[in-house]
């Protein structure tokens, strides 16, 4: 089942299904390694609730919830 990245909780993992956001932003996300088929894991949310820290391809990246809302994830264990 597909969910958006901003709906995942710390500790959840999954695989990227699609990037449904502004093309410029999508391009940069892909260049950073966030492509359909990439496994990711949610590490934590910032103390004030935003942004989200994820782990992928061996490094940590943080995204705003607004940006994460456009990233469709196939969550693990669903």
């Amino acid at each position: 089942m597909s969910r958006t990245l901003d709906s995942l909780q710390p500790g959840d993992s999954g695989v990227v299904k699609a990037l449904d956001c502004d093309p410029e932003a999508a391009h940069r996300l892909m260049e950073m390694g966030l492509l359909p088929g990439t496994p990711i894991k949610v590490v934590r949310y910032a103390p004030l609730g935003d942004p989200i820290e994820i782990m992928m391809r061996g490094y940590h990246l943080s995204l705003r919830k607004a940006e994460a809302a456009g990233i469709l994830i196939e969550a693990a264990g669903e």
Binding site: D22, H27, E31, P47, D50, L61
Partner: protein, 768 residues
């Protein structure tokens, strides 16, 4: 540590130009990969920092001695994640590598710095660069960090896979650097990287464009390089005309044709490239990287972040660190600043003794020496701030600070990285504005610069103290008093003066946030760039790096801003001192000041005025002459001219002169008030100054200074732009006079309106 150089079998050689001119070597890599650490290790202090013409991107060049007699010119390119740029910094990196910048010829060789602990993403940029066909060396940095995360990279395998030599390094410790230099000395071939496999349409386009490029590029790049350049041009927004200028009309025409095809729009090309590249990189990285500890083992970074970005403790620690940095700039800096003041005063006095009285002496002491002093006084705050910034950046904590603050900053359209510059501006906007370089989005950076002066800087405090001591009653609002032995009665709680100061700070912050919102919607609007903040592993800071940053920023300030500040402060001195009155011709200077005081008469006689001593009378006469001199000066005359414009704010011409003096520095307002009220050398504690101010009258007899006037003045100071040094720094950072001018105008106008509303509003309510 024994380091093996890995070099693949060579072929496809492009001769490296030899001869009189120095070889130019570019340093490229991701942000946080240690590129700058390597640059510092290779060049030491032999660095030159300037600007790329036309953009506000820093150009860092340096000389590196590979071996006695053999030097190269090193160019530290801005850190970038990809050669498809999303910011002016990244655009410059791409343009230099493609030879698209007139002012910077393409490099003869490239050193690509990789973070070994993060290989896959780092290789994205690396392979893009290797495809350009420039002789390259891979500097595999941060092997120690990789080891700590349980990974190790097989440098030999990597070199075979990439078709270029790999030099393992730990730049911050200097390990591997001699080997890198040795490798740069030896013959460098073009990379033998297998071409990226692309979807058919794109592949066809790339080959066609590469053919059109092969003639202009021949001799400079290999055939493979032409394909790499072609892909970059297809994936970018570079104008066909620019391409024509560098690569000829054939290439430009071919590119323009392809652009007409919507399947070959740059973003579509970019998306295909990203998918293809990572598809190539993933198996490559699996071959080259070995994992030791299981994935489950937590690295130091993970454990540290569990606390440092914890919902509660993370905020607490962040608050403490922020407070520490602020305290350092605010109060630790005051010791060296005091030292500078004393030194300048001594120098001034010494010069007065040596030189004959006259205009030259005045120019040197009050103009030049005082002017130089007003520049150097900022150095302690700048050095301290950049010490901390260097430390926070190098350890990796800075990214966490941006991570924590982003939500708050985002509410007014700013980036989390704007927090540290704004917070520093509470001590002084100058280092704060200089620190905005870390903000990559131009719109965000400009907005942050434009609102930084609204953060109440420490120079405003003497003005606030003077106003509060003279006109705000020391009411106790809420708290309790208690009796201490020895110290007597002490009060612990809220007083009116404290509330006033706090309100002034709050006003500044509120206006800043409001203006940020306005700017982001109007002048500096644009799509909010995505955050995409990398949180790198924590590292031990490189002390050499930190010191080089401090030195670099300090000397840049002195050279660029310092000259402007000195020039303008001499002009201001001139305006306050000339034209000179003829002292000998002045006759009617009253010698008894009404505030001399009274003493009880003998016995039961009524009180009598104190007779001033001869010395007191002389000082008094000097002060009055100084006041007359100032009124007669250009500044004094301008003060009179300004009076109608500032009277609605409750200010008279004397305050006008003070505002002019405050242009040099806000705290100068107090000293100027001292002179204009004939009190001589005054500071914010001077009782006689306060008395004289209270005695000042408008022509109709009403007092000039009331509590309302004081509040109006303080509100004016919260908002108004009164610091030529800040303007000079803004000019340096934005590379134009347009923005300092705009800043001066908008803040002065805003301040006028605010003070007007306060003063007139207050009078309406009957407080006047």
């Amino acid at each position: 540590m024994a380091v093996e150089l890995q070099t693949p079998p060579s072929s496809g050689v492009v001769p490296i130009p030899t001869g009189k001119s120095l070889r130019r070597v570019a340093l490229a890599g991701n942000p946080n990969a240690g590129k700058t650490t390597l640059f510092n290790a290779l060049t030491g202090m032999r660095q030159k920092v300037g600007n790329y013409p036309g953009v506000t991107v820093e150009k860092k060049e340096g000389r590196c001695t590979l071996t006695p007699g053999e030097e190269v010119l090193l160019l530290d390119l801005p850190g970038t994640y990809s050669l498809s740029p999303k910011s002016p910094d990244e655009e410059v990196a791409r343009d230099v590598l493609l030879g698209l910048r007139e002012d910077t010829p393409p490099p003869d060789a490239v050193v690509i710095v990789l973070d070994a602990s993060n290989l896959e993403r780092n290789l994205y940029l690396a392979t893009q660069i290797l495809e350009l066909g420039i002789p390259s060396i891979i500097a595999l940095n941060m092997n120690d960090v990789a080891e700590n995360s349980g990974k190790s990279v097989d440098a030999h395998e990597l070199s075979l896979a990439l078709g270029a030599p790999v030099v393992p390094l730990i730049a911050v410790k200097g390990e591997g650097v001699p080997q890198l230099k040795a490798r740069l000395l030896a013959q460098l071939d073009t990379p033998q990287l297998p071409a990226l496999e692309l979807p058919e349409t794109l592949e066809h386009a790339r080959s066609t464009l590469a053919d059109a490029l092969s003639t202009p590029l021949s001799g400079k790049r290999s055939l493979e390089g032409a394909r790499g350049v072609a892909l970059r041009l297809l994936a970018s927004e570079v104008q066909a005309r620019t391409v024509g200028e560098i690569y000829g009309s054939n290439a430009a025409g071919t590119l323009a044709e392809m652009r007409a095809d919507k399947h070959l729009a740059p973003l579509a090309v970019g998306a295909s490239e990203a998918a293809a590249r990572y598809a190539m990189l993933n198996p490559l990285v699996e071959r080259v990287v070995q994992h030791h500890a299981g994935e489950a083992s937590k690295s130091f970074t993970d454990r540290a972040d569990a606390i440092l970005t914890h919902k509660f403790w993370g905020l607490v620690i962040f608050g403490l660190i922020t407070l520490l940095v602020f305290q350092a700039i605010f109060s630790w800096a005051s010791y060296p600043m005091e030292f500078v003041n004393q030194a300048i005063a001594l120098l001034g006095d010494g010069t007065r003794k040596v030189l004959p009285d006259g205009s030259l002496e005045d120019l040197l002491v009050d103009g030049v020496i005082a002017g130089v002093g007003s520049v150097i006084i900022f150095l302690p705050q700048i050095l301290i701030l950049f010490f901390f910034i260097g430390l926070l950046e190098d350890t990796g904590y800075m990214a966490r600070a941006a991570f924590i603050m982003d939500r708050l900053m985002g509410k007014v359209g700013l980036h989390g990285r704007a927090f540290i510059p704004l917070m520093s501006s509470f001590a002084c906007a100058i280092p704060g504005i200089m620190a905005t370089r870390t903000i990559s989005s131009r719109n965000d950076r400009m907005t942050t610069i434009m609102i930084a002066p609204l953060m109440a800087c420490s120079a405003r405090l003497p003005v606030y103290y003077l106003m509060i001591a003279a006109f705000i009653p020391n009411l106790r609002l809420w708290g309790f008093s208690f009796n201490l032995p020895v110290f007597g009665e002490r009060y612990l709680g809220l007083t009116l003066p404290t509330v006033v100061i706090f309100s002034l700070y709050a006003l500044g912050i509120i206006v800043a946030m409001a203006m940020a919102w306005v700017f982001k919607k109007t002048l500096f609007s644009g799509p909010q760039p995505a955050l995409m903040l990398e949180l790198p592993p924590y590292k031990i800071p490189g002390w050499r790096n930190v010191l080089v940053t401090m030195w670099d920023r300090g000397s840049q300030f002195l050279k660029r801003a310092g000259t402007v500040i000195l020039a303008i402060s001499i002009v201001l001195w001139f305006m306050l001192s000339y034209p000179k009155i003829d002292r000998a011709a002045v006759e009617n200077v009253p010698t008894i000041s009404p505030a001399s005081g009274i003493r009880p008469g003998p016995g039961n006689a009524p009180p009598v005025l104190n007779e001033p001593s001869a010395e007191e009378a002389e000082t008094d006469r000097e002060n009055r002459l100084a006041a007359m001199q100032q009124e007669n000066s250009f500044a004094g005359r301008i003060g009179h001219v300004l009076e109608p414009a500032i009277a609605p704010l409750g200010f008279n011409w004397k305050i006008g002169v003070g505002l002019i003096g405050a242009m040099a520095a806000r705290e100068v307002f107090v000293a100027t008030m001292g002179t204009v009220y004939a009190v001589g050398d005054a500071d914010e504690t001077s009782q006689s100054l306060k008395d004289q101010m209270k005695n000042d009258r408008w022509p109709d007899g009403t007092p000039v200074w009331t509590t309302l006037t004081a509040i109006s003045l303080m509100v004016y100071f919260v908002i108004a732009m009164q610091c030529i040094s800040t303007l000079a720094v803004v000019k340096r950072e934005t590379n134009s006079w347009k923005w300092p001018l705009f800043m001066q105008v908008y803040l002065t106008a805003l301040a006028w309106v605010a003070a007007f509303l306060v003063f007139q509003g207050g009078k309406l309510f009957g407080w006047g």
